[in-house]
């Protein structure tokens, strides 16, 4: 009887359900699932502070901009685990999320909390750091973000976002996107050309933002692309259409997004 109880407990920890099959980037070897859902659950359980003895729900693979990942949910902890490497892409603790508009810490304390947690997870945040306090009406959070760019300002695939409860100083979300890359070649398509292409593709007149970044096509081939954001009107009182258009920085072709 005792043996049966232990057996049930063991399987309760690793109750695995796979509910979706990723199709995006099917030809990209970086997205091949070398890690099993069971192994992903084990990896998530090894995250410092992971709940003990609770049941795991594993879904995926879920396609992302750089990786495919399993979503692993435990009681009050969720993680995305890379299907190829087993690396932890994100961790969230929903119960630590802010529940009030109280702001009891400053930017320095929020940043220290973020950096401390990243050290605990052995995540190296690189690039320029920004700190924002975001007021969502009923809750307030700090968002500390690290973004790596090259000398030409091209956003590289190394991006870290940490969210901190402004009332309790607890980190409640970490997202770390990282994929190996080669130094991107200079863009053939200029910003002006990319904006013109995006205007024609969208029918929208006003560009609000445009930046170069590294991405990967369905076969896993590295590309540099412009992300051009546009609106139909800049008047604050008008109905606004806001679109984001991707333009390949080598060919000038637009790139579809789901």
């Amino acid at each position: 009887m005792r043996g049966r109880t232990i057996l049930i407990s063991t399987f309760a920890v690793l109750a695995v359900v796979s509910v979706a099959v990723a199709t995006a980037g099917a030809g990209d070897p970086r997205r091949t699932a070398d890690v099993t859902p069971e192994r992903a659950a084990e990896i998530a359980r090894s995250i410092p502070g992971a709940p003990v003895g609770s049941r795991a729900d594993v879904r995926g693979p879920i396609p992302g901009v750089y990786h495919n990942a399993y979503s692993v949910s435990y009681d009050d902890m969720e993680a995305l685990v890379d299907v190829k490497t087993g690396g932890v892409i994100s961790v969230a603790w929903p119960r630590r999320m802010p529940s009030t508009t109280e702001v009891s810490i400053g930017e320095d304390a929020a940043t220290q909390a973020a950096e401390s947690l990243l050290r605990g997870l052995s995540i190296e945040a690189r690039g320029s750091r920004s700190v924002q306090v975001l007021d969502h009406g009923s809750v307030v959070e700090y968002v500390i973000e690290w973004r790596l760019t090259d000398a030409a300002g091209v956003r590289l695939p190394h991006h870290t976002v940490v969210r901190v409860n402004a009332a309790t100083a607890e980190v409640f979300s970490v997202l770390h996107l990282e994929r190996s890359y080669t130094p991107p070649a200079a863009a053939v398509v200029s910003r002006e050309q990319a904006e013109r292409i995006a205007r024609e593709a969208s029918g929208l007149a006003h560009v609000t933002d445009a930046f170069l970044h590294v991405r990967f096509d369905d076969l896993g081939t590295q590309r540099t692309a412009w992300r051009v954001n546009l609106v139909s009107s800049t008047s604050p009182d008008d109905y606004v259409s806001a679109r984001s258009v991707l333009v390949d920085a080598s060919t000038g072709e637009t790139i579809a997004e789901p």
């Binding site: 995305l80 009406g137 996107l177 970044h213």
Partner: protein, 249 residues
């Protein structure tokens, strides 16, 4: 089955079964109703914006949460607000501005607006206007959640203009809606399609409105490489959940 036919049958069954009182404006059906409104706005005004994908994904998640859910394409503001009286969840994905959201009717020419607070009767550009403030507390207090997924929906309309007021505040404070979510900035297509899925999937999993909004932003960065403006989310009553399925209080 189309929304009107399906709900009509349910309401008839309810009326026969309960001899429903005529003093109550809104009907509570079992399972509770959820109406999503999505659009295929044409060029040139106010610009192409296709939100069917967001609506389809929101509807699928609401159905899996236990609601009788519909994604209603290209309906008028008047229809949307008439149906809101029977709804537990009401969601809009489309063009917006401070104090108002725009409904396109799918015929290439006609539109209507839902405005927060306007008591004015002026009609401009032939666009029919529906005022959220003209509905009674009895009409809308059964709503557990209203979603205004469009640009700048969390902002107040220009004082003294037709758009004067704030959609979320009118819904929550004056009409008894339990929770609302809107946006303080621009929200971009096509990221809105991913957000419509991620936000309602999180609600289906049992998150509060605030938790779902938070997790959906992280999922947008994971999926698209940026948040698409959805980190400007703004809620009232965000500690509420819509699972298990039910009407508001």
């Amino acid at each position: 089955m189309r929304r009107s036919a399906a709900v009509g049958m349910l309401a008839l069954i309810l009326a026969i079964g309960t001899s429903a009182s005529s003093s109550v404006n809104a009907a509570q059906l079992n399972p509770p109703l959820a109406d999503v409104f999505s659009f295929d706005y044409p060029d040139p005004w106010p610009g192409f914006f296709l939100t069917y994908g967001a609506g389809d994904k929101a509807r699928a998640n609401l159905k899996d949460t236990g609601y009788t859910a519909f994604n209603n394409r290209n309906k008028s503001a008047g229809t949307a607000m008439t149906w809101a009286k029977d709804d537990a969840v009401w969601a809009f994905f489309g063009h917006a501005r401070p104090g108002g959201v725009l409904f396109y009717h799918g015929d290439g020419t006609s539109y209507s607006e839902l405005l927060a607070n306007s008591d004015m009767t002026v009609i401009k550009s032939g666009v029919a206007k529906v005022s959220l403030s003209s509905y009674t507390w009895n009409d809308l207090h059964d709503l557990r959640l209203m979603v205004f997924a469009g640009c700048n929906t969390a902002k107040d309309g220009k004082p003294g203009s037709l758009d004067d007021g704030n959609l979320s505040r009118v819904a929550f404070i004056r009409k008894g809606v339990d929770s609302t979510i809107a946006f303080q900035g621009l929200v971009h297509w096509p990221v809105i399609n991913g957000w419509g899925d991620a936000f309602f999937a999180r609600l289906r999993m049992g998150d509060t409105v605030n938790q779902a909004a938070q997790m959906a932003v992280s999922m947008m960065i994971y999926s698209y490489g940026w948040e698409g403006g959805f980190d400007s989310w703004w809620t009232i009553g965000g500690t509420l959940k819509i699972k298990p399925a039910g009407y508001g209080s």
